[in-house]
């Protein structure tokens, strides 16, 4: 049993890695997507809208299966065409890219809303001070945008964390996979081992979501420095 609990902990580390790398990919895609949707270029704005509308209308599990199997197929077709040996896509890489791509659409909307909440005068003032576009973004827009984006980001993070539970379906060795492996390898009287290992997995997730709640509460306080808290 100790061996199985250790496996569960290893699975938890994989879950945390998956969720954090996916979050980073989704956040970068969200920044790009928001830039596209807010851009004066009509075509870019259309591509951005298509991305957020289509991805958010389809369940993440369906998109995961669609992208995971299709991309592997396309890679196989290309290697066949070139007469090369088949490349097996690394499941971890596939998992984080798919989750990152899906939640990038949600981040696009979060960031777009947050950017629009920053008063226009801030950017005009930045231009008046002679800051170039990168300086204006990194020193003026981004820090202020984060204050408005954090509640949405915290929400998306919780959803991503819970979405990693789905990647055991495409064969990644995270918490649920470890729990199921432990269940296969043991047999308790009364059949209680299934319940026990699944409850352990649930508990690990509960700890992760609770800890991240505290982290985000701290971050929200930090990025709200200099602003009075709204009376509740």
């Amino acid at each position: 049993m100790n061996g199985y609990l250790q496996q569960l902990l290893v699975g938890t580390v994989v879950t945390i890695e998956l969720a954090t790398v996916s979050l980073l990919i989704a956040f970068v895609l969200g920044l790009i997507g928001a830039a596209a949707k807010l851009s004066p270029n009509r075509w870019l704005a259309m591509v951005g809208s298509a991305y957020t509308t289509l991805i958010r209308a389809v369940p993440d599990l369906v998109l995961m299966l669609l992208l995971y199997y299709s991309v592997q197929n396309w890679v196989n077709a290309i290697t066949d065409l070139l007469g090369q040996p088949q490349i097996e896509i690394d499941p971890f890489l596939a998992g984080v890219s798919v989750i990152g791509f899906i939640y990038g659409a949600y981040f696009t909307e979060t960031i777009r809303g947050a950017v629009k909440a920053v008063p226009r005068g801030q950017l005009e003032a930045a231009a008046a001070f002679g800051l170039n576009r990168w300086q204006a973004f990194s020193r003026i827009l981004f820090p202020q945008m984060m204050r408005f984006a954090l509640p949405g980001i915290s929400n998306n993070w919780q959803v991503i964390l819970k979405a990693t539970a789905l990647v055991s379906i495409i064969g990644l060795h995270e918490v649920i996979y470890a729990a199921q492996a432990a269940i296969k390898g043991s047999s308790w009287p009364g059949g209680a081992h299934v319940l026990f290992y699944l409850l352990m997995a649930a508990l690990l997730y509960l700890v992760l979501t609770t800890v991240s709640n505290f982290v985000f509460a701290y971050l929200e306080k930090r990025y709200a420095a200099g602003f009075e808290r709204m009376a509740r």
């Binding site: 289509l54 958010r56 209308a57 389809v58 369940p59 993440d60 599990l61 369906v62 998109l63 299966l65 669609l66 199997y69 299709s70 197929n73 819970k162 979405a163 539970a165 789905l166 379906i169 649920i176 009287p189 009364g190 059949g191 209680a192 081992h193 299934v194 319940l195 699944l198 409850l199 997995a201 649930a202 997730y205 509960l206 979501t209 609770t210």
Partner: protein, 235 residues
């Protein structure tokens, strides 16, 4: 690809005499779990917003646990772990209930959406303007009639946009039913994929169906908001 569509358009959309279609199953899962979840969430949210503390904190614990863990684990626990217990299997009523995959998925989905709905309704009830309650009290309303006539009608209206989000998320979450062998849209897609090894058309058709369903729900909720939130429109 044409063969796949020829063979599978009926299971996706229409069904055969003895099987309902994937589309119908997905709709049934969504509606059943949302109706049950909402019916349970309504009293729970009022109790959580205004009840005594011994009733408030168990409800808080319930929403905390079910919102803090993935629905997939909840489904696995209800579908495989509970039925895995010997005493459940040997108790006639329980055994036959948990043996059925459809019962288990609807139970898991209903409890999950109940937790999220309780939380958002609680927020809406707590956001009731003081003046509304004071006006109702001064007109002699109290207790249940205060809630049924004043607090809930205005809280439910306020919760409508957030609830439409929850329903869309629930629609998307029903795709998990395919992992418990319930024949919903995604299960049909996975069968089609297993038959033809063509992932793009098989899952692509499923994606299009889900997207159409989402758009329909969004449209319906927009109509509902126009009707019930008319007094808030700014134009």
């Amino acid at each position: 690809m044409i063969d796949l569509i020829k063979q599978y358009w009926q299971p996706f959309l229409w069904g055969s005499p003895n099987h309902i279609s994937g589309l119908a199953m997905t709709l049934w899962l969504t509606v059943a779990s949302c109706v049950i979840g909402f019916a349970l969430a309504l009293p729970l949210s009022v109790a959580r917003a205004a009840g005594p503390s011994w009733i408030r904190w168990p409800i808080w614990l319930f929403t905390f646990v079910f919102r803090g863990t993935p629905l997939y684990i909840q489904l696995l626990i209800i579908y495989s772990a509970i039925y895995g217990l010997d005493f459940v299997r040997n108790t006639p009523g329980l055994g036959s209930f948990f043996k059925d995959a459809l019962n288990c998925t609807i139970l898991a989905f209903a409890v999950n959406t109940c937790a999220y709905t309780t939380e958002l309704l609680t927020g809406a009830v707590k956001a009731t303007p003081r003046g509304e309650v004071e006006a109702a009290r001064s007109l002699g309303l109290a207790g249940i009639s205060l809630y049924l006539r004043i607090v809930l009608p205005s809280a439910l209206r306020r919760a409508l946009p957030a609830y439409s989000n929850e329903v869309i998320l629930m629609l998307h979450a029903t795709s998990l039913a395919s992992t418990a062998t319930v024949p919903d849209i995604l299960k049909v897609a996975r069968d089609a994929y297993a038959d033809y090894y063509l992932p793009f058309p098989a899952f692509g058709i499923a994606a299009v169906l889900y997207a159409c369903l989402s758009m329909t729900f969004i449209w319906l909720f927009r109509k509902a908001e126009q009707k019930w939130l008319k007094h808030l429109s700014t134009t």
